[in-house]
Assembly symmetry: C2
Homo-oligomer: 889 residues x 2
């Protein structure tokens, strides 16, 4: 370590913006701002390398650090004309953390460091305001005691309350200096009592204590938790910034504030901020006093508060000059902290400002149009998550909410409706044109139509990857899952939660983005897809190489997908079409059939409906490819579960309940995930796949013949594990296709491909690819098998696995690149070796996940397919992946 301390002040700094890794975001910014000639209080930064050394070397500092710090302190003293620990003219400093990326609230800050019983008197004399000095002193003691010595702030707060009661005053500001002096003494006794140590009087000791506390706080539980959530490596470390104190609370000609160079809510190009006269920065951030707008544009309508522009016109003008300078320099919207000390403006900090999703899009688009940034940079400035949030309705934040409990935020968006407890009831509501929220213990495939009919879904069981969650996300429907606090009584048609009883028909609101369950109706604000969004997505589409398709099977979903920009259907799950009430009977008849003939009779009933499905889907996706997966789930999924349903089916089928129950029993499987499903059904009952293929081909053929469509149907065989299996089924499918082409007297191209969802398929990809025209990675099943992890059962240990860091992410949400991804890599490599023109896509849940999309881009996939609502997210993620890889090349 050559240099551990970087000085900034007097218009120049040893560091600059580029040294962000070394100096942290804040330190690099302070250096940069100093170099820019902005009025930054001088100070110095202790590098992140010292932090790393501190953690690697058992909490000790590198040799020579003390000498460098001393030298920097001397320089500060010389610039400010004050001396640290001087009883006449004391230098006071702040000590702050600063990691590479902003970790708001995570790291501790200490202000007014350098005060003790002697220097406080010097400060009082300098400021000509003993009250200010002692207020600063008592604040410093509290902050230092809390952060460095671990004394809980409530001790100080209760002493402060006692003092105010003694004096009969309401606010801190009304306390007299004598009272403050007494408080200081009481604070120090409290420190001694609670920590067993005296409060350090020597400013040098205070300084090193504070530096140690900043480094220590990097290892704190809450910082570690933040890093885990935001995937920040442990070894980045934090820097320590020591900076001369300036005071916004030295009197009425002082102030402190926070401003954004553009409106962080809307993105509008206007200077926007808040300030507080005679206050320290923490007062603004902490929200204890209501801040005032810096200008008229920042004022909420009807707000009568004076603005900074009015109260400090000259200082405000200087601030405007500075913000324009800053935005030009940083080429992004800035979040500025400033202090006015006796009318003189100091910039304490500038950083990239946080913004709402729609502001992010608008700022990106505006800045391109202002020639501030390129389109590539604009694309990288908006996160896929922001796009996702942008497209879901949100609860109006201005309305008060009665939150009764919180579950998992399983599918984003918010919805209100009357509570119903069955899918049937939800459908009745839809038919009646009423909004319903479906409340279930958990959902099953039979609930799909009910979920579709409801505005939102609330379940007591299940995690982020439960059936309800997955299906709801697929539908773009809000869902709160795993809400263990609710106790449902289906019989009485009610649920109780934290002492409240909610009956069928009562109105409930759920927020699938936060997991909140709210009593009554809460209005929502719809996302606006405005001209900025449209423009932005146009640039995104220009940039990306990956195709984006949707997983969709209902004509409505397909339409939505198309509206969201999907360039085809990547996965049309034909079995979902089987659950509709009008069809399930024929499907069950087919399953119960004991002979091929009877099975074919039932299939003949399903055929026209299936054909209609495909006609509708082809119409909605006109001009784009549609990949249709043949029947996949085990047959028992279609059979009834309840006594009443069994009775009904027995009546319809003119057979006994016992016979049907026996069939249900005979189809029972111990591990249905690994059982008689997918193409195994096609091998066992060729007539099922034949019916489906015929429906696909006739639908396509008739549109081609009669309506001049151009369709090349993509027929996808699920659950292939062996070459011979695919060859056998391909021969069957080809036969039917040729029959249809013959019958229609047509010639058009169709493609036969396979899902890669069984590990063995990935391993034999080379020979499979010689037969298959496309691969689509079914990463849901591939993950289950590669990890030996049943999605339906993982709930009992997955949370623990995530918590202990065994899995870094839920592998059903974001592809496990090391394991499953390795199989995919192998399959791509071998598949392309077998067939140079193989089309490759992904159609599992993870297909809409950002890092998965980047992974697919790197492997040269042709497309990713995701739920319709995630299509715009996927488009952006694909563009960003393209940007990232081109920047790597």
């Amino acid at each position: 370590m050559e240099k551990m301390v970087y000085f900034f002040g007097e218009g120049k700094a040893e560091g600059n913006q580029k040294l962000k890794d070394l100096l942290g975001g804040k330190g690099a910014n302070l250096a940069e701002m100093t170099n820019l000639g902005l009025a930054v209080p001088p100070g110095f930064t202790i590098t992140t390398e010292v932090c790393t050394f501190y953690y690697q070397g058992k909490n000790s500092y590198p040799p020579g650090l003390d000498v460098e710090v001393d030298r920097a302190m001397k320089r500060l003293e010389s610039i400010m004309g004050r001396r640290f620990a001087d009883r006449e003219n004391p230098l006071l400093v702040s000590v702050r953390s600063g990691a590479r990326v902003s970790m708001p609230g995570m790291m501790d800050t200490i202000l007014n460091l350098g005060l003790n019983d002697e220097t406080v008197e010097g400060l009082a004399r300098q400021a000509k305001d003993p009250r200010f000095a002692y207020d600063a002193y008592r604040r410093f003691i509290q902050m230092y005691a809390e952060v460095v010595m671990g004394v809980s702030s409530h001790h100080f707060e209760s002493l402060l309350d006692q003092a105010k009661r003694r004096q009969g005053v309401e606010s801190d500001a009304e306390l007299k200096v004598e009272e403050l002096k007494k408080l200081v003494a009481e604070y120090k006794s409290s420190v001694q009592r609670e920590s067993g140590k005296a409060f350090p009087v020597e400013p040098g000791a205070q300084l090193w204590g504070a530096i140690g506390a900043v480094f220590g706080s990097w290892g704190s539980a809450r910082a570690a938790s933040y890093r885990r959530i935001h995937k920040i490596p442990e070894d980045w470390g934090t820097a320590v910034n020591v900076q001369t104190m300036v005071f916004g609370n030295m009197g009425d000609d002082c102030a402190t504030g926070v401003a954004f160079t553009r409106d962080p809510s809307t993105g509008e190009r206007k200077f926007f901020g808040e300030f507080l006269p005679n206050a320290q920065g923490e007062d603004v951030v902490a929200g204890i006093r209501t801040p005032m707008p810096i200008n008229q544009e920042s004022a909420t309508p009807g707000n009568q508060l004076a603005t900074m522009e009015q109260l400090f016109p000259d200082t405000y003008a200087e601030l405007v000059r500075l913000y324009q300078l800053l935005e030009k320099h940083y080429k992004d919207m800035q979040d500025i902290e400033f202090t006015v000390q006796q009318k003189k403006l100091f910039l304490l900090q500038t950083r990239t400002g946080k913004r709402t999703p729609s502001a992010a899009v608008r700022i990106a688009v505006d800045m391109v149009n202002e020639n501030l940034i390129t389109k590539d940079i604009a694309i990288s400035r908006v996160t896929p998550t922001q796009i996702e949030q942008l497209l879901h309705p949100r609860l109006d934040p201005r309305v008060e909410k009665k939150v009764v409990t919180k579950g998992l935020p399983a599918s984003p968006g918010a919805a209100s409706g009357e509570v119903v407890f069955s899918s049937e009831e939800a459908e009745n509501y839809r038919k009646a044109g009423k909004a319903a929220v479906l409340v279930r213990h958990e959902t099953s495939p039979e609930d799909i139509t009910g979920m579709d009919a409801a505005q939102g879904v609330l379940t007591a069981l299940g995690g982020m990857t439960s059936h309800a969650a997955v299906v709801a996300r697929g539908m773009g429907k809000p869902c709160v899952a795993g809400c263990g606090a609710i106790s449902i009584d289906y019989k009485k048609q009610l649920f109780t939660v934290n002492g409240v009883t909610v009956r069928k028909g009562e109105t409930l609101t759920i927020d699938g983005s936060t997991g909140e369950v709210i009593l009554g109706f809460v209005p929502t604000i719809n996302s606006q897809v405005d001209q900025y969004f449209t423009e932005f997505m146009r640039w995104v589409d220009e940039k990306r190489g990956l195709g984006i398709r949707a997983n969709a099977e209902t004509p409505n979903d397909v339409k939505v997908a198309r509206q969201f920009g999907a360039e085809g259907v990547g996965l049309c799950r034909t079995e979902h079409m089987f659950f509709e009430e009008s069809r399930i009977t024929a499907v069950r008849e087919m399953i119960l059939a004991e002979t091929r003939e009877r099975r074919e009779t039932a299939l003949n009933k399903i055929f026209p409906m299936q054909k209609d499905d495909f006609l509708a889907i082809f119409r909605e996706m006109r001009g784009y490819p549609v990949t249709i997966r043949l029947l996949d789930p085990p047959l028992h999924e279609f059979l009834p579960k309840t006594e009443a349903e069994l009775l009904e089916l027995a009546r319809l089928e003119n057979t006994s309940v016992e016979a049907i129950a026996a069939k249900v029993k005979s189809l029972h499987e111990f591990n249905p995930m690994l059982g008689h499903r997918g193409c195994r059904l096609g091998v066992s009952y060729p007539e099922i796949y034949e019916m489906q293929v015929r429906a696909i081909m006739e639908a396509a053929g008739e549109l081609i013949r009669d309506e001049d469509f151009q369709i090349e149907p993509e027929i996808m065989v699920p659950f292939i594990g062996a070459l011979e299996e695919f060859q056998l089924l391909k021969a069957d499918i080809t036969k039917v296709c040729d029959q249809v082409l013959n019958k229609l007297q047509l010639k058009f191209t169709y493609r036969i491909g396979t899902m890669i969802e069984i590990p063995r398929a990935a391993l034999i990809a080379e020979s499979l690819a010689k037969e298959a025209e496309f691969f689509s990675f079914g990463t849901n099943d591939l993950t289950q098998m590669t990890l030996g992890l049943s999605r339906d059962d993982a709930g009992s240990f997955l949370p623990r696995y995530l918590e202990k860091g065994i899995y870094r992410q839920d592998p059903f949400v974001s592809l496990d690149q090391e394991g499953v991804g390795e199989l995919i890599r192998i399959a791509c490599e071998r598949g392309r070796r077998g067939n140079g023109s193989l089309k490759i896509g992904i159609c599992g849940e993870q297909g809409g996940d950002t890092s998965t999309i980047e992974f697919c881009h790197r492997l040269g996939f042709n497309y990713v397919s995701c739920s319709p609502f995630r299509v715009p997210v996927a488009r952006l993620a694909a563009a960003q992946a393209a940007l990232k890889s081109s920047s790597l090349n």
Copy 2:
């Protein structure tokens, strides 16, 4: 195809033994024997390439075949001084199939070809025996009509019966020539009537019809079935052998027979065979007449029949000279077919003789000691399957048996089962999981699957070389043949024997080593291992590189494994110890415990029992390594299923049935195979693994300390899927190990390794191997996950998959080398990259499978682990794998 026909005759042949692939086993042998100067009737072989051409090219012959056949026929005529189709001195030929490997009874044979109404008169004149000539003619018509024209033999048999009745005679031989002439006419009318075609009179047409029939029979269902069972590729094809007829039935100075150069039952070095005077070869094989011994050594004790040595002393002496020559030449036990025509000996065929498993071992050992073959060849001469059969149990001699009769001891071993009278029924029994003994007059090739399904076979007719005997020996299935005392009534589904009636479904026991037929069930004991076996296995162990361990957990199994030569325990499944009645209660208490404390209380009860288990196992395996797998199955496997058990548990646990039922329900999993099991339990409930590790270490430690054992316990963590998972558990395990070492004041080595049974573990093997000291492939689970195939549920489609050839073998029996094996290959490569000294083994079911063992050998595994009973089989397979790979290098 350069040459399609290979001639042999006059002491030299165009082919030789090395052209077995081209000429088939029989054709190559005939060529070789001709070259050796043995008295082989001249003839020629049409190559297997013609057969392949025939099947690839839609049943047509390659151009030019007719010319080559004609040329060979001319040469035969010239050698024999007879002419084909000549009415004076006609040449007759046999037409036989001959594939690369012997497929007894599978392919059709036609004798006496060339006879018609004119040539038969010539034959009569030549043989000076019109009766012989017409008998040959009527046999030829029947055989040809049946094989070539598809006319069922029963038509001819009933005509023959009528003729015998007409004449009032008992045997065919008593029929006069006039009657035979009439029969010939009747036979031909019958052919015309049944087939709609005239019997071909032109010998050339007969020849081509017969050749076509041989090729056609390659594609017959029964041949295909035999190939499937014996894994013979379809494209090998069969050759056709056309050979001059010699007659064993031209009078009393003629004979035909079959002999083995050593006793095929015991392996004893004695010339052994059967013959029939005045008969054709088929009479011996078909088992219709009871044959006579060729010498005293071949006679069953008490047998009064004359021997060939007595009846044909000179010819017998010549036969002895030839057999010695043959065995020296082929260096293996030979199965010889011979015919004596007017006292002149002709060899029709020699081939490697089928033998019982114990004969195989003895012959191999004897031949090494006779300096005929090397030890390596001896090792390769015994199949692992034979070793397995050798160790099959035999009847307990101490148990009293109700022997009702005795037949020929046709295939050794003993079996009990319910009597069935058809192959179909035997298959039904197998499907129902019940043991059957198949009782038939005689067996035919169609019975092969039924014989395979039955535990043993009993026939009323046929000798030691009958179809039933040969096939049963090949299968290692007990068989009693030629049991003339039993009288079967297929219609009534019963047989009577010595006044006893035995009906279908009654239990019967047969002893194929003694020929005894016993009423009721007789317990069996393990076979005795003789000095030949011991010597042989000593050579085997010298040869092999792979270690052989056993999967065992009870002290008794471990003991048996050790006796069978296991060099350690490769998989000790600790959960099996939990199911014992005395323990299950404590295990359930542990599962029901709601707190860690209560769980630990229950675990403390299990601990001493678990420790005793390990003490016993270590003792039984003294001097060899023991790999102990920590708890693997999901906890719900240990919970009660029935109402009564629930009640009992509730009583024991002093809780409600509802509470336990709720727990059972909460532990329910949709796909338990992929659920909360294996090391996931170790992560969730660290105290379970801690108890197990403590038990292992204390048991090992006490034996080391108190009894001077040398043990290095191998602790195996199941179901690892992530590096972090293993690291976490390894840290836990190490902690407990260190505690125990500390407590016992000892230092000894222990190893911590992992199962590789989740595909992801194979993919991350490099990083895993840096942490793990050994890998053991759990191929049961690895197969389930890699193939997406639940072993418990595969029954509904696996048979169809095998039948359709989608899977070539049951992947749970023999490792799927292409898929699962590829993952294993990847894991080995990566694992060794991560850890050069990594120990690698396999402990799945497939660990005892021959081709799996060869695969493991090729990948350089340290050991395979299999069930105790398969240990000797695995030892041989490992030695053969070593031989095979050294021959490849």
